[in-house]
């Protein structure tokens, strides 16, 4: 098996320092929606300047380089044990090169490991075997500010008058946006999972954030709800950074899982505007980044 540590290091650099084109285009569009001279517009203009500067200087877009979440889709023949070692080695190097902040803290002692390693869950790596001969690694860097405003609801929710249907889902998601205010670094992008158990539901809400912003939901009902949620959340006037304004959300991605008869969870993962996700594919020796 080939050693792809250097290629993974480049994936980490790219993810931390260069915002994906669909996200940048969406923020540039949002600038035009805000009143000239307003705090909201000022915030978005600063964000765009920062995105350009980070790309030019190869420095992290945000100092909170978050939890590195890897999804690895490997053809038969690759060793997941070797891939894990190479991902870990790349993460250590990326930390030395200041593409990543040392972010892995022992929850009992409070000690920061200094190299972004720590136990089996830091960095977070998911493996799935696929057909064909292309290895795909997707990486998302999700910061703590937006992770902290994620929420999980169990329906029915009496306080919000939300039942076990899409109308109920809409209500709890709007509540999650209200609760988050500007604290998750709005404008945000929501990953929403309907169903599952508490664990699988939260995982799915993050997985759906690997979808591109312009990628339409194949389920017309969910596609309509995604659009409606963005429109209604933006009526709340929370705005960029919570300064007030028209842009509270840039997008919503909804997925669903089967559930137990007794359970109906809605999990919301909030992603900040610094929506850092990138993909790398390796076919034989050809490496491609998206």
């Amino acid at each position: 098996m080939q050693d792809i540590t250097e290629s993974i290091l480049e994936l980490v650099r790219l993810t931390s320092t260069d915002l994906p084109p669909d996200v940048e285009a969406s923020i540039r569009q949002a600038v035009l929606q805000e009143e000239p001279g307003s705090a909201a517009r000022g915030a978005l203009e600063t964000i765009i300047k920062n995105v350009e500067l980070s790309r030019q200087n190869s420095t992290p877009i945000c100092q909170d380089t978050g939890t590195p979440i890897f999804y690895v889709y490997y053809p038969a023949g690759w060793s997941t044990r070797a891939l894990r070692q190479q991902i870990e080695a790349a993460v250590v190097q990326a930390t030395k090169k200041s593409y990543l902040r040392p972010n892995s803290v022992d929850s009992i002692t409070g000690k920061n490991s200094g190299n972004n390693l720590g136990g089996r869950h830091f960095p977070s790596i998911h493996f799935e075997e696929v057909e064909g001969d292309t290895l795909t690694i997707e990486l998302m860097l999700k910061g703590g500010g937006c992770e902290n405003v994620g929420a999980q609801y169990s329906l029915p929710n009496d306080a919000l008058n939300a039942g076990r249907d899409l109308a109920g889902v809409r209500k709890v998601v709007l509540d999650a946006v209200y609760q988050a205010q500007g604290q998750g670094c709005a404008p945000g992008i929501l990953g929403v999972a309907i169903g599952g158990d508490r664990g699988s539901s939260y995982y799915a809400s993050k997985e759906t954030l690997y979808r591109k912003l312009d990628d339409a939901n194949p389920d017309p009902q969910l596609a309509a709800l995604e659009g409606k949620l963005v429109e209604e959340a933006n009526q709340m006037g929370i705005g960029p950074m919570g300064f007030g304004g028209k842009t509270t959300l840039l997008g919503t991605r909804i997925t669903h899982l089967n559930r137990l008869p007794a359970s109906f969870f809605v999990s919301v993962s909030y992603m900040c505007w610094a929506y850092r996700r990138r993909k790398m594919t390796i076919t034989h020796t050809a490496v491609k980044y998206e």
């Binding site: 920062n50 200041s98 109308a167 209200y178 205010q181 709340m236």
Partner: protein
């Protein structure tokens, strides 16, 4: 846009109002979760005995915080091996986590300015009126841009808290922020929250 030089006088603080954009110049110190808990437990509530270099650090940060500004930030720092420190990325972290501590820290150390993101709650707003002080909102995630305003790293305390949680003493030039909580009881966060709550109620009322 108004330029402010640190340390800040009461007169300057009283003249600042919610919505004012400012550029900060001078010396400021970073401090976030571990630092706030440590300051409150060790020196304010005194529920924990000072250990190791605690007393030394206390005397070193006291003059920096008096009339000074504390920045909720966990930077990416280059030069850790050589101690030729340089900020690479240094945007604000979410401030509300310091709500249990911030008012006490402001009063104890006479801190005049708190920089972070997302705003803070009623206890910090009350401290802004009493001290007096202001809450300054930086742009969350604008880390490369803000790092460029940090012209020098003057030193670091409590590096054993880890790089993000340590207290970094920096000199800044034209550090951009917006006043979102002032010393007259004004808070942009309170008004945005009230407005969004009314809209939410209306939306929840629809089918």
């Amino acid at each position: 846009m108004r330029s402010l030089n640190m340390p800040l006088s009461d007169e300057t603080i009283r003249s600042l109002k919610v919505g004012d954009p400012v550029l900060l110049n001078g010396v400021m110190i970073t401090g976030r979760d571990a630092a706030h808990k440590w300051m409150v437990d060790t020196f304010i509530k005194e529920s924990r005995q000072p250990q190791c270099d605690d007393l030394e650090v206390y005397s070193a940060i006291k003059p920096l915080l008096a009339g000074g500004v504390i920045y909720h930030c966990g930077p990416v720092v280059a030069g850790l091996d050589t101690q030729q420190y340089r900020f690479v990325a240094a945007g604000p972290t979410t401030s509300i986590r310091e709500e249990p501590y911030q008012g006490m820290v402001m009063k104890h150390f006479n801190v005049k300015g708190v920089i972070g993101k997302g705003g803070m709650g009623p206890r910090t707003l009350a401290a802004c009126q009493d001290v007096p002080g202001v809450y300054l909102h930086a742009i969350g995630g604008a880390a490369s841009l803000i790092a460029q305003t940090v012209v020098r790293v003057l030193g670091v305390y409590k590096l054993d808290f880890g790089v993000p949680e340590a207290m970094w003493v920096t000199e800044v030039q034209d550090f951009p922020a917006v006043v979102t909580m002032d010393s007259h009881g004004g808070s942009l966060h309170v008004s945005v929250e009230a407005h969004s709550k009314a809209v939410l109620q209306e939306l929840l009322g629809k089918a």
